[in-house]
Subunit: 142 residues, 2 copies
DNA sequence: TCGTACTGTGATTATAATGGTTACAGTTGT
DNA sequence: ACAACTGTAACCATTATAATCACAGTACGA
């Protein structure tokens, strides 16, 4: 899982928590604890999938483009991190003679793909609203 | 998922494919396509969990310490990659005033932990033997 | 018992991935 | 026109990853 997912979920939860469901990249970045430019990049991904509406120019910023109880973590994962379960390094050698060396990468690909699918099924069960509720009900660590 | 998992699975499948279920780190490294030293490090993790027996000295090497149909990918994941689903970067600020900034990291930790658990349930259903069979039955890409 | 072929592990280096930062063009309300 | 925003690309710093090196320890066999 890459950290764009974390940034995306945090940003959406933050927006969902605001009365007008709006904020600038500066305000979000400050809450997420990263750079506004990074927020804008992630928001750009979310906008393409309709989870965010943007308003440029003065008084602009980002607004939630969906209901918090409708956006699932699976949606967010698909928008920001699809494929990230698979490590970039691959074993074996496609051109070799040995069947194992030659086919392992493809078999592992399938396994990662199946595993990601299972993971998505799980993420499907959690929404942005659920995350917000978890925050409200989690005891602050002493 | 980190690539130690890939190395571990590949190595075990390779061993399982050999008549005597033995090989040196050099032979495994050559098949996996990495450095023998890396293989030895991963084998070290697997040995601690009993999936591998090692024999030092001349004529030594690694031998499968389990039945291929008993070692699940979940076992291998636990031995090599536990926790790797969680990105190293965390959002928010634990010391802050804002509930969201303050608690998001902990909530995301829980989510990652639950998700990893689901992933393990899935990996539980596949064994080293299954991976070997997949390799034997997968058509080589043209 | 010495030499060779192994493993075990720490240290170092090279490379790739990640996150932070800057820069600047485009947009919009005042 | 200008100030306050977003959109994106480019670049730099840091971190993570994989490769490599180094060398001590072990075991077999001549």
């Amino acid at each position: 899982m890459n950290s764009e997912f974390t940034v995306a979920v945090h940003s959406l939860v933050y927006l969902a928590s605001r009365p007008d469901r709006m904020a600038t990249s500066d305000a979000i970045a400050c809450n997420v604890n990263t750079h506004p430019s990074r927020i804008r990049k992630v928001m750009s991904l979310l906008r393409k999938k309709g989870y965010i509406a943007t308003k440029e120019g003065i008084g602009g910023g980002y607004q939630l483009g969906c209901e918090p109880e409708e956006a699932t973590l699976a949606d967010i994962y698909r928008a920001t991190s699809i494929g990230s379960i698979k490590p970039s390094w691959c074993s074996g050698n496609e051109q070799g003679e040995c069947m194992i060396a030659c086919r392992m990468a493809a078999v592992m690909d399938d396994i990662f793909s199946d595993t990601e699918h299972k993971m998505l099924q799980h993420l499907e069960s959690m929404t942005i609203r659920d995350v917000l509720v978890r925050i409200w009900t989690t005891e602050k660590q002493p």
